[in-house]
C-alpha cells in the first residue's frame, strides 16, 4: 500500500491550547440551557397552566371554592343535554368507525398502487375547513337544496339529530380510515400467510388474525371520534335545529351568558372519554412497537388474499359511495362560491367573491401567517422536546412530554376556554391579540411533531451524534449540523399537519378571536350560522386552495429531500 505521501501532514501534532481549559459553562452550553428552559417553560405556561385554570375556574364560584357548577350540571335541562350528547356522539362514532373500518379494509386488500391512491385521496379529504359538509348538506339536500328542491322538487328538512349524526359520521371517516390503515399496515404480512397455510380461509383469517390485531386501534379510533363528536359544537349549531347538545350549551354559555365557571364545568365533563381514547391509543402504540421488532418488510405483492365476493362488493360500494359524497361536497363548495340559487334556478354570480374581497382578505392573510408561524414553532418545539427527552434523556422530561400530548386529546373547547381564563390579566394579558391565536394553535399541535421526531430518532443511529462530538462539535453544533439537517423531512411532515389543522380549525380559537384578530375559518363559521352560505363557500374554497397549495409545495420539497429520514 502506498500511504507514504502526506506523511508529514499526519504526524500526531495536537496542540493542547487549541482546546484550552474553558469553563464548563461555555457559550454553547449556555445556549443549550436556554433552549431547554424555553421548551420546558413554554410547555408549562401554555399547556399546563391553561388546563389547570379551566379546572380551577370550574370549582370556584364568586371566588369561593364550591362544587355548585357541577351540581347545576345535574339539573333536568342539563341532564337532557348530556343525554342528547351521549346519544348523538355514540351513534356517529360507532357508524364512523364502522364505515372507516370498511374503507380501511378495502384499501388494505387492494394492490399496492390502488391502495396508495386511496390513501392519498383520504389524505386530501383531510384538508377540509370545518362545517363545509354542513354547508354542502344544506345547499344540496336542504329546504331549497340543489338536489332535493331543484332536481326532485322536494322540500326536505335536514335539521335535527339525524343531520348531526350524518355530518359527524361523514366528517371523521377520513381521519379514522387513515389511522386504521396505518394499523393494518403494521400487521406482519407473514401472519396472514401463516394463517392461510394452517388451513384458515380468507374470511376466517380476517376474523381471527386481522381484526384481533387491530382491535386496540379500532377502540382508539372509536373513542377518539367520540371525544371529537362530544366536543363538536359547530355541527349541532348549524344543523341541529331545535336539538341541543352539551357542547353547544357550553359554547353559548361562554358567548351569551359569559358564565365561565359553568362552561368550565361542562368542558371538564368532556375529558373522561378523551382519556379513554388516549389510553387505547397508547396501548395500540405499544403493541405496534412490540410487533415492529421482527422483519415485516414483506410487501403485499403476490399475496393471494381474497375475501368472498359479496364482502368485497360491500366494502367497495361503501368506499365508492364515500368518495362520491366527498366529490359532491367539494364540487358543491366551489360551485356555491360562484352561483346563487334563486327560486329554483342556479345562476352565476360574482357577488360572493366581491363581498369576500372587500372584507375578508386581511382575515385570510392572518390565517395564513398564523398557520405558518404555528406550523414552524410547533415543529421546532416538538423536535427539540423529543431530542431532550429521548436523545439526551434528561431527567423529568417524560412527564413534560406527556403534558405536551394533552392538548391533542382534550377537546378544543376546553383548551380555548383555558386561554380565555388564563390570559385575560396582567402580566399575561393576551386577549384579543394575534399572539394568543398563534400560541393556542402552536401548543395544540406540539404532539404531532414530537411523535414524528420520536419515530425519526428511533431510526437515527446514536453513533452519529457520538461521532459529531468526537469530531469536536458542541451539543448546539450537533443540533444545527447533524440533527436538524437529518430531521428535515420530519420537520416538513409536522409542519404540513400543523399548518393544515391551523388553517381550518375553529374549535379552540373561536373563543379567542375578536374583530381585531379574526381569522378566515371563524368568519366562515359565522357566515354559515348566519345563513350567508355563498360567502361561506368562497371562504371555504379559498381556505382549501391555499392549504392544498402549501401542502403541494411542502410535499414537493419533501420528495426532493428523499422522502423519509435516513435509516442508518
Amino acid at each position: 500500500m502506498q500511504y507514504s505521501r502526506n506523511m508529514a501532514l499526519l504526524k500526531n501534532k495536537i496542540i493542547w491550547k487549541e482546546r484550552g481549559n474553558k469553563s464548563p459553562l461555555s457559550f454553547d452550553v449556555l445556549i443549550d440551557r436556554i433552549m431547554l428552559f424555553l421548551v420546558v417553560g413554554s410547555l408549562l405556561l401554555f399547556i399546563l397552566y391553561p388546563i389547570f385554570m379551566v379546572i380551577s375556574t370550574s370549582v370556584y364560584r364568586h371566588g369561593v371554592f364550591s362544587l355548585d357548577n357541577y351540581r347545576d350540571l345535574l339539573s333536568p335541562v342539563n341532564l337532557k343535554l348530556i343525554k342528547n350528547s351521549l346519544f348523538v356522539s355514540t351513534l356517529s362514532s360507532v357508524l364512523g368507525t364502522f364505515l372507516a373500518l370498511c374503507i380501511a379494509l378495502y384499501t388494505f386488500l387492494q394492490k399496492e398502487r390502488i391502495g396508495a391512491l386511496i390513501y392519498r385521496l383520504l389524505m386530501t379529504t383531510l384538508i377540509s375547513p370545518p362545517f363545509v359538509s354542513a354547508l354542502a348538506l344544506i345547499m344540496l339536500f336542504g329546504r331549497r337544496g340543489l338536489i332535493t328542491y331543484n332536481l326532485l322538487g322536494l322540500s326536505v328538512n335536514p335539521y335535527g339529530w339525524q343531520g348531526i349524526v350524518l355530518l359527524q359520521t361523514l366528517g371523521l371517516i377520513s381521519l379514522a380510515a387513515i389511522m386504521l390503515i396505518s394499523a393494518l399496515n403494521a400487521i406482519d404480512k407473514r401472519l396472514l400467510l401463516a394463517s392461510r397455510d394452517l388451513g384458515a380461509s380468507a374470511l376466517q383469517t380476517l376474523h381471527r388474525v386481522i381484526l384481533p390485531s387491530i382491535y386496540p386501534a379500532i377502540l382508539s379510533v372509536l373513542f377518539l371520534l367520540f371525544t371529537i363528536n362530544m366536543a363538536d359544537f359547530g355541527t349541532p349549531i348549524i344543523i341541529g335545529g331545535k336539538f341541543k347538545v352539551l357542547a353547544t350549551e357550553a359554547y353559548m354559555t361562554i358567548f351569551s351568558a359569559a358564565d365561565l365557571g359553568k362552561a368550565a364545568a361542562m368542558s371538564v365533563l368532556l375529558i373522561p372519554p378523551a382519556i379513554i381514547a388516549f389510553y387505547f391509543y397508547r396501548k395500540n402504540l405499544e403493541k405496534n412497537n412490540s410487533l415492529a421488532d421482527g422483519v415485516k418488510a414483506l410487501g403485499g405483492e403476490g399475496l393471494d388474499f381474497r375475501l368472498p365476493l359479496f364482502i368485497r362488493i360491500a366494502l367497495g360500494t361503501i368506499t365508492g359511495l364515500f368518495f362520491f359524497l366527498m366529490l359532491l361536497k367539494y364540487g358543491n363548495i366551489f360551485l356555491s362560491a360562484v352561483t346563487i340559487n334563486v327560486s329554483g334556478k342556479l345562476t352565476f354570480t360574482w357577488k360572493h367573491i366581491e363581498a369576500f374581497q372587500f372584507a375578508y382578505l386581511p382575515a385570510v392573510y392572518r390565517s395564513l401567517s398564523m398557520a405558518v408561524i404555528a406550523g414552524i414553532l410547533a415543529s421546532v418545539i416538538g423536535i427539540l422536546l423529543s431530542y431532550y427527552t429521548h436523545r439526551r434523556q434528561l431527567p423529568l422530561m417524560k412527564p413534560i412530554e406527556f403534558i405536551a400530548s394533552l392538548p391533542y386529546i382534550i377537546p378544543g373547547i376546553f383548551f380555548g376556554l383555558g386561554y380565555i381564563v388564563g390570559f385575560n390579566n396582567h402580566p399575561l394579558l393576551l386577549t384579543g391579540t394575534t399572539a394568543i391565536l398563534v400560541l393556542n394553535c402552536t401548543f395544540r399541535h406540539i404532539s404531532v411533531g414530537n411523535k414524528a421526531a420520536n419515530a425519526a430518532f428511533e431510526n437515527l443511529d446514536r453513533r452519529l451524534e457520538m461521532a459529531a462530538r468526537d469530531l469536536g462539535a458542541s451539543p448546539v453544533r450537533i443540533l444545527t449540523t447533524v440533527i436538524f439537517p437529518l430531521l428535515k423531512s420530519t420537520f416538513l411532515l409536522s409542519f404540513i399537519n400543523t399548518f393544515t389543522a391551523c388553517m381550518t380549525t375553529v374549535g379552540a380559537i373561536i373563543f379567542l378571536v375578536s374583530p381585531r384578530n379574526v381569522v378566515a375559518s371563524v368568519l366562515m363559521f359565522k357566515d354559515i350560522t348566519n345563513g350567508h352560505y355563498g360567502l361561506g363557500a368562497v371562504v371555504a374554497s379559498v381556505l382549501i386552495i391555499v392549504t392544498v397549495a402549501v401542502n403541494l409545495v411542502a410535499i414537493k420539497y419533501l420528495g426532493r429531500e428523499g422522502g423519509k429520514p435516513y435509516v442508518a
Binding site: M1, N6, L10, L464, A468, R469, D470, G472
Partner: protein, 328 residues
Amino acid sequence: MLLELKGITKLFDKDNGVRDFNLTVSEGEFITLLGPSGCGKTTTLNLIGGFLQPGRGEIRIEGRDITHLPPEKRPVSTVFQSYALFPHLNVLENVAYGIRFYRKEKKKQALSLAREYINIVRLEGYEKSKVGNLSGGQQQRVALARAMATNPKIMLLDEPLSNLDASLRHSLREELKSLQRQLGITMIFVTHDQSEALSLSDRIVVMDKGYAIQIGTPREIYFYPISDYVAGFIGKSNILTRVGETIMVRPEDIKMAKNAQGDYTISSIVFMGQHTEYIISAEDTTLEVVVVGKENNNFMQGDRVNVTISHQLGQMGNEDISLVPELK
C-alpha cells in the same frame, strides 16, 4: 506513556461494565481489546473516547488527566461500528467536519485539508459522492479518513471490519495495519475476532465480564494463556489431567500415530482442506487434534492411535514476559 488507564470502573448493573481496568499504551502501539460481546470492550473504548464517565479511576494522556473532558475536547477520535458517517454530507464534508470543529479551521481551509486525507485512503474522485452511495469498504475508508483528519493522538476503532464480507475484511485488515505502521498512529482496536486480534496487534487485552484477564503480545496470549478461558477464546484447547495436574494443549500440538493397540479411537473427522480436525477419544477423555498437510492425512474413522504432546500451554503466572523463551 501516551495513554494510562488507572483502575477504571464503570458499571451499568451487576453484570455489565468494566471493572478495575488498568492499561498503559505507548506511542505508535496497536492495542486490541478482545472478548465476546458484553465483555466490556466497547465500554472501555467509550470511556477513552469520553462518551461515558467512569465511576472510578483516571484516564491520562501524556500525563494529563482527561477523565472529565468531554469527547469534543479529547485528542482521540473514533471509527465507529457501522461508521456513523453523516448521511446528509458528502465524502469531503464528512472528512472536513472534524477539521472545522475540532481543529477550528475555516470552512475553505478545512475542505482543502480534507482532500489530503481522502487521497491517503485512496478515495480520489469520490469527494462529492453521498456516503450512502458508497460500498462498505469505501465507507470504512471515509470513516478512517474522518477520524485521522483531527490529528488524534490515539485512534479508537470499534469493530471497524465487522460489517464487511470476508474477503474485503481480509484485505482491509492488511491496509489498516500498513497504514498504522507507516503513519505511526497509536490505535486501540475492538474486536471479537481472534484472527483480527492476532494478526494486527502489538498487544492484546483479553477481556471477560468487565475484567482485563490477560494483556500480552499475540504470541504470549496464544502460547501462554493464563486461564482456560483465554486458551478457549483464542484458538482451541484440550484440557487434560495428567498425574493430578491439569494441562492445556492446542489441537495442533498433538501428534497421532496409528497403532492397533492405541489408547485412542478416532470418532469423527472434519476435513477443512487446509487442515483436518479429528476428535479422538479414550475411555474418559476426548481430544481434538488438528493435522496439517496431505502426508499426515491418512487416518480413518475407527482407527486406533497413540498420541504424543509436543507442547503444553504454559501457565504464565507472574513470570516476566521477557523471560518467555522464543518459540520456533
